[in-house]
Symmetry: C2
Subunit: 222 residues, 2 copies
DNA sequence: GGGACGATTCAATCTATCATGAACTGTCCG
DNA sequence: CGGACAGTTCATGATAGATTGAATCGTCCC
């Protein structure tokens, strides 16, 4: 009960509500970006965000000098959505802002962009990987899956390099698969010609074969 | 957006949250009762309640010198529930307080108690009646339904007495059917021996026949 | 009528909390 | 290294909003 009051009062602030509202799209935003959408100073935004993190509503990921904030759990989004239906005049959903999508590209040595994000989402959805505190761990069925793709996960686990990491994507603002698993997966997909590198660019193109394989193997329409 | 902030800030107050939390059981409470659960003075409670009513979160029904407050719409309860799952330690649902149920009894000349409440609920659920601003209106299928029970609703509609009213029940704190329709319905059920009066009391007992009929005719297990 | 009681209103406080400005930490990059 | 930038911390105001006491209104019931 006391907890509920605390959470309620946290949500019951105009600035914080604006931030939470922005985060509803499921992406991660930096503190400065949130200060802009909330129309508040950087200092007070920092204060608000730390309160939200303390209460377990948001989580934060450091990426260089940036800090990316996102919902700590799905339930937060549900609660905000439930509240939004209380608004008397449902003045239509705010127009979707067209956003330049970085569809498919590499991030250092692994796949990023919306494909990278969808890929990780799907791997988790199918329980090939399990996210533990944003660090992906492989399951038994996952080992089998990667083995069928021709990837020996046992070997990767013995490397010094982290086996798998969830890397925050600067364009999608969501996680994609990094670490040695992400690296090997990219190499495999290039090798199998699911995707090809574009000259002098980090962009990738998906081949016709890749399109079909993503659908067949992972149920991903790309 | 602005509306959402307003609603959020309304919910984000300890006193108001306590009141809303109490109202989650779907019953109506008086201002004084809510001031007790919220541990606030009568004056400030009154202020809080008027704010909640103005915002369309609560509705109020006057009953003599009492004012009964309850959720204006179901969505309010959903939102509160959605928030409640955000509490970090799900310290079990608060123990259900045993409440003395006034199961089945009359209220002046119609049925009240939990049966009366369930009855109205079911009639509305089956679209025999439609609640418009807490005043029940009869539908075409409703006319047929009551006709099959041997009740001529056309005749009732021509009387001076209000055809149907939603009467707030002091024990259930929810609405039951009053007005001439409620009156005739009780008379019919007594006549048909679904229920019987208890001597020197407003209590009613449901007969074996009544039990079966409530189930068959209205799908009500009593 | 008259007292008891539920509920509200109003003006006068009081207080929790948000915003602000200045200073500081840590990262990036030429 | 040194400047630019992201983010935070701290002490100091500023203020919205809650609380309180006194007064008022309406209903109930003897």
């Amino acid at each position: 009960m006391e907890q509920l009051e605390r959470i309620a009062s946290l949500i019951g602030d105009a600035s914080r509500m604006k931030m939470l509202w922005s985060l509803l799209d499921g992406r991660a935003y930096t503190a400065t970006e949130l200060s802009i959408v909330a129309d508040a100073s950087r200092q007070s935004t920092s204060m608000h965000l730390s309160k939200l993190v303390d209460a377990g509503l948001l989580k934060v990921n450091s990426q260089g000098r940036h800090k990316y904030y996102s919902f700590a759990r799905q339930e937060i989004a549900y609660a905000i959505e439930a509240m939004s239906v209380l608004m008397p005049p449902p003045t239509q959903v705010s127009p979707v802002k067209p956003q330049p999508i970085k569809y498919c590209r590499t991030c250092y040595d692994h796949m990023a962009g919306s494909i990278g994000v969808k890929l990780l989402d799907r791997l988790v959805e199918r329980h090939y990987l399990i996210l533990e505190d944003d660090t992906p761990a492989i399951t038994e069925t996952g080992k089998k899956f990667f083995h069928d793709l021709g990837i020996d996960t046992m070997e990767l686990l013995s490397l010094k390099r982290p086996f798998a990491r969830a890397c925050l994507d600067w364009s999608e603002r969501r996680f994609h698969l990094a670490g040695s698993l992400g690296n090997v997966l990219l190499k495999k997909l290039l090798e199998e010609d699911w995707v090809r590198r574009v000259a002098n660019s980090r962009a990738l193109v998906i081949t016709a074969k890749g399109k079909q394989c993503f659908l067949e193997v992972l149920g991903l329409a790309v």
